[in-house]
Amino acid sequence: MNNNKYLREELLRQSGVNPKKCMKCGKCTATCPAFDEMEYHPHQFVSMVESGDIEPLLKSESLYKCLSCFACIDRCPRGVEPAKLVEAVRLSVIRKQGGNRLSADDVPSLLDEDVPQQLLVSAFRKYSK
């Protein structure tokens, strides 16, 4: 639990999110375009980080489904900005040694003749360090 307390503070500091502002209206999750693919939804990231229940998030595939579309950030009536918390949790996973989700060896299998460079650089920015 001490570890989680430290991690919780680190996540709040680097994201700049204050989960106490959340009034649990669920609008972030309702507007999330990746809702169907997510095990934990944006509002759950906010409440689970707040309560220190972070382990399940670290292991969740949901980290890699966030589209960084900023919809939950813009549509939150309280300015909580859940996506920044999702990003902070993801970074705490992929910044660890061996935490990369995507490697250069994966690239050939991802290519088709139309793939824009933007797709690959964005994916690497999100899935690897």
Binding site: L67, P116, Q118, L119, S122, A123, R125
Partner: protein, 263 residues
């Protein structure tokens, strides 16, 4: 008028049309795009973590060069625009971040967000003017029903991007009207195409992209325009059966500078 210009990686490769027609059209409108010297890739997405510094330096370098030349910085790609504008905002508002960046760069005078960043569409609206654009159109696209696809990155987060009303934008529709065409308004125009998730969850991207295209078609669109190479890729790859075209191509066509560009 001369402005600094950040093209970005995709515009020099898979999205050459977006770049070429941006140049040709700007020229026809009396604007010279001066490409940033030795620009580097913006990284495609802005990392919101406050302690992420190195990945934002390429944007700061481009901003700093425009600042030194006392020019606004113009972008065309939605992703470059989002990353550079958010980085500029962080340099203006986050003192700790700006201090770290400036120590890292160690350049004379530092940089603290002085440069004005314009998306090409904003340049047309705010620096050229849609009325002036309308006057310069030689080939009005009369009767064409065109749907603007904003996606996410042009509009959000609105507190930073500040381009238009993020839920009911008009800038691309006004652009379409200035070219003489009919703008088709549809509800999915500011929803996500799936973005980079198409590398590992193609079905998710497919669902998102199809929802956008189907909604545009249901409202009578014959064509979709976008500023984002990744939006275009996702829409086309997932089976859009109406043309998805870069907005600069449409602009070049209306300005009569499209034909002589196929060297």
């Amino acid at each position: 008028m001369k402005v600094s210009y950040f093209p970005g990686c995709t515009l020099k490769n898979k999205a050459k049309d977006l770049d070429l027609y941006a140049y040709k059209s700007a020229e026809a409108l009396g604007v010279t795009l001066e490409e940033i010297e030795n620009w580097q890739c913006c990284g495609g997405v802005f990392t919101t973590a406050k302690n992420e510094v190195a990945t934002k330096l390429s944007s700061v370098r481009a901003l700093k060069e425009a600042c030194t030349k006392e020019q606004p910085l113009v972008t065309v790609c939605s992703a470059c625009h989002n990353v550079i504008k958010q980085t500029n905002h962080a340099m203006q508002t986050d003192k700790d971040f700006a201090a770290k960046v400036n120590r890292y760069m160690n350049e004379d005078g530092g940089y603290s967000g002085e440069t004005a960043v314009y998306h090409y569409l904003e340049m047309l609206r705010d620096l050229v003017g849609f009325d002036t654009l309308k006057e310069k159109v030689v080939n009005p696209l009369k009767g064409k029903k065109i749907a603007a696809y904003y996606g996410c990155l042009l509009l959000r987060p609105n507190s930073v991007m500040n381009m238009d009303d993020p839920e009911n934008p008009t800038i691309m529709e006004d652009f379409i009207k200035a070219l003489g065409a009919d703008a088709v308004v549809y509800s999915m125009r500011n929803e996500c195409c799936g973005g980079y998730v198409s590398v590992e969850s193609p079905d998710l991207a497919k669902n998102k992209s199809n929802a956008v295209v189907n909604n545009a078609k249901a409202q009578g669109a014959e064509m979709i325009i976008t500023a984002c190479p990744l939006c275009k890729y996702n829409l086309v790859k997932n089976g859009a059966d109406i043309p998805v075209v870069y907005f600069t191509e449409l602009l070049a066509e209306a300005l009569g500078v499209k034909e002589d560009t196929n060297e």
